[in-house]
């Protein structure tokens, strides 16, 4: 039952990201100043914003930007971090200690503050927030994969494989990567949720997507000026955001429990 619910939610999110026009009821950019800040109705499910745009359609179209960017951030951070971690763990010695020192420096920062500073320094657009978040997110994966690789390296089957003359790249491909990949996937699932929160936070501060993009953080940031006149503007898009993050967090939670 719960499983079906999670799968259903994932399917819905995929539709949101891949085919937003199937769900959107209006053009997300169409201005209609006469109908500005109208409460939710059958014509506008989530009401309208300060320029009369349909908030529901904007949320639907924003999903691709927010979720898509978060997926790419997690993917890049996981791949890069895993690569660094694997190199450090596999070769050990001096390479390991240098790489891990860099990782430790990165992990010593409060990540959100560092991401804000980086995004602000690179320039205020979606690309800069994405890059900033990849920069603060990869070290966690490097640390984790290094630990994995270190423990697998000393397993009997790897030693045996090496004893019969298998070369490093083959051992990595057949033994190390399959073993290390599952925890990466679990962590990445949880991280998608956290990255969505961080990314929308950056856009909320004006460091990410710029108007008139329907990116969720920016959308809610625009809504901030209208808390007194239109509760729906900030509440409903945020509710969708929370649900999406919740799906990834619950999924990640279940995956990590299954592993145990």
């Amino acid at each position: 039952m719960k499983r079906a619910l999670v799968l259903l939610a994932l399917a819905l999110i995929s539709v949101l990201v891949l085919f937003p026009s199937l769900l959107a009821t209006h053009d997300p950019f169409a201005l209609d100043v006469i109908n500005r800040l109208k409460p939710p109705s059958s014509a506008h499910f989530f009401g309208t914003d300060e320029a009369g745009r349909d908030i529901f359609s904007r949320v639907v179209h924003g999903a691709r930007i927010t979720i898509g960017s978060s997926l790419s951030i997690v993917a890049c951070a996981a791949i890069f971090g895993a690569l660094i971690g694997a190199i450090a763990g596999w070769f050990g010695g001096r390479i390991d200690s240098y790489l891990m020192r860099i990782v430790d420096v990165f992990l010593a920062f409060p990540y959100l503050v560092l991401a804000m500073a980086l995004a602000a320094s690179i320039g205020r657009n979606m690309g800069s927030s994405i890059l900033a978040l990849i920069l603060v997110w990869w070290p966690g994966y490097a640390r984790m994969v290094r630990g994995q690789v270190l423990s697998i390296k000393n397993e009997l089957f790897v030693k045996a494989s090496r004893a019969i003359g298998t070369n490093s790249s083959r051992i990595l491909r057949w033994h190390v990567i399959p073993h290390a990949s599952r925890p990466i996937v679990v962590r990445a699932t949880l991280d998608i949720g956290y990255v969505i929160i961080a990314l929308t936070g950056l856009s909320f501060l004006g460091l990410g997507a710029q108007n008139p993009s329907p990116e969720w953080g920016l959308l809610i940031s625009n809504a901030k000026a209208y808390v007194l006149f239109g509760w729906w503007y900030s509440v409903l898009p945020g509710l969708v955001l929370v649900c999406v993050v919740g799906v990834f967090v619950i999924l990640g939670d279940r995956l990590s429990k299954e592993r145990e």
Binding site: A120, S121, I122, V227, W231, S234
Partner: protein, 350 residues
């Protein structure tokens, strides 16, 4: 007897000093990385800070003039070393926007931020431990089921959205708390001493002002607490659950010790170390979260200052805030690690 005593004291003093120096060195490396990374990235981008500082009306000569004033006409490596030496001398440059030295600005805005951060930190630390312990102690109760749902939801809530929801409900509709801002000093005729509304109003003996200052803090602090509560509660619960399964708990029970005593004096004490490590880390996240919350509630602290700097490409404040927050974060985590041996006698001998 005396011989062993001097030996141990000598042994314990030297490594401690070395440890301290190592830590200081580490702090420098971390801060240096922050400075260098942001500096390099900020100079890679095409936007022209001199153009922005000079304003839209400025002609080309004025922009050049501003560029010279800000030292932006120098070669990059010279700019970098200038900046680095400035940091060493606690001179973080001037803010383009406020035209004040950044260090002065930071001392002006930091107290308001600390007021929020400390209030939130102690609230969720205590709540997290209390609810975590209760959850571990009564895992089959209704409260435990509620907590398991609430804490999953809790990590999924973006702090800025919590802030907006609180504004919609408690400020816009119920009107229980002010919508934004902290203590209006002029209105209540309170003297600006520390920059923390609650303390300043108490110092001037102005009770209505103190009441208002407290009221203004409720919503931003609640937003921060809600965003962090889930993490601390879940961790407190999982470490407590592990501790309650240990043999010493069974032994204490067999001796006839009361359940309350076992939970609080035996298990909780052993469970505290990982919880405190987590709280230290959370303090760092709190510093990031405060920026968002301050923007939502127009709270005149470092976060709002940072936000205005972001909007105007004002690099010096951005770098300075990164440095200040990083140093705070590293120091808090160091203090936390100093706490361990105090809480756990097993670590004292090491």
């Amino acid at each position: 007897m005396t011989r062993t005593k001097t030996l141990t004291s000598r042994n314990s003093k030297l490594p401690r000093l070395r440890k301290f120096i190592n830590r200081l060195w580490w702090l420098l490396v971390v801060v240096w990385t922050a400075v260098t990374l942001t500096f390099v990235l900020s100079r890679l981008i095409p936007a022209d800070p001199a153009r922005l500082a000079a304003g839209l009306q400025a002609g080309p000569e004025q922009v050049e003039e501003v560029r010279r004033q800000l030292g932006l006409d120098l070669p990059l490596n010279e700019q970098y070393f200038r900046y680095l030496f400035g940091v060493v001398k606690f001179d973080l440059g001037n803010s383009i926007q406020t035209r004040q030295p950044v260090v002065d600005d930071i001392f002006k805005y930091l107290p308001a931020t600390l007021e929020l951060v400390f209030a939130a930190f102690f609230t969720y630390a205590i709540l997290g431990i209390v609810f975590g312990v209760l959850w571990a102690r009564f895992p089959k109760s209704l409260g435990a089921k509620v907590l398991s749902v609430v804490t999953v939801l809790g990590v999924a809530l973006p702090v800025f959205w919590i802030g907006l929801i609180l504004q919609v409900i408690f400020a816009a509709n119920l009107k229980w708390f002010p919508l934004a801002g902290n203590l209006p000093y002029a209105k209540y005729q309170v003297e600006f001493v520390t920059g923390m509304g609650t303390i300043d109003s108490l110092l001037s003996g102005n009770l209505p002002a103190f009441g208002f200052a407290l009221k203004a803090m409720v919503l931003p602090v609640t937003a921060l607490v809600i965003s962090q509560f889930a993490v601390s509660t879940r961790l407190a619960r999982s470490t407590m659950t592990d501790e309650l399964k240990r043999q010493y708990v069974t032994a204490a029970r067999a001796r006839g010790s009361s359940e309350f005593k076992i939970t609080i004096f035996d298990a909780l004490r052993n469970a505290l170390n990982p919880v405190i490590t987590m709280l230290g880390l959370q303090f760092g996240w709190l510093l990031g979260g405060t920026i968002l919350v301050e923007v939502v509630f127009s709270w005149p602290g470092l976060g709002l200052y940072a936000f205005n700097a972001f909007r105007t490409f004002d690099y010096n404040p951005i770098l300075a805030i990164t440095i200040v927050i990083t140093i705070t974060f590293v120091i808090v985590n160091e203090l936390v690690s100093l706490l361990y041996p105090k809480l756990d006698p097993r670590l004292r001998s090491q």
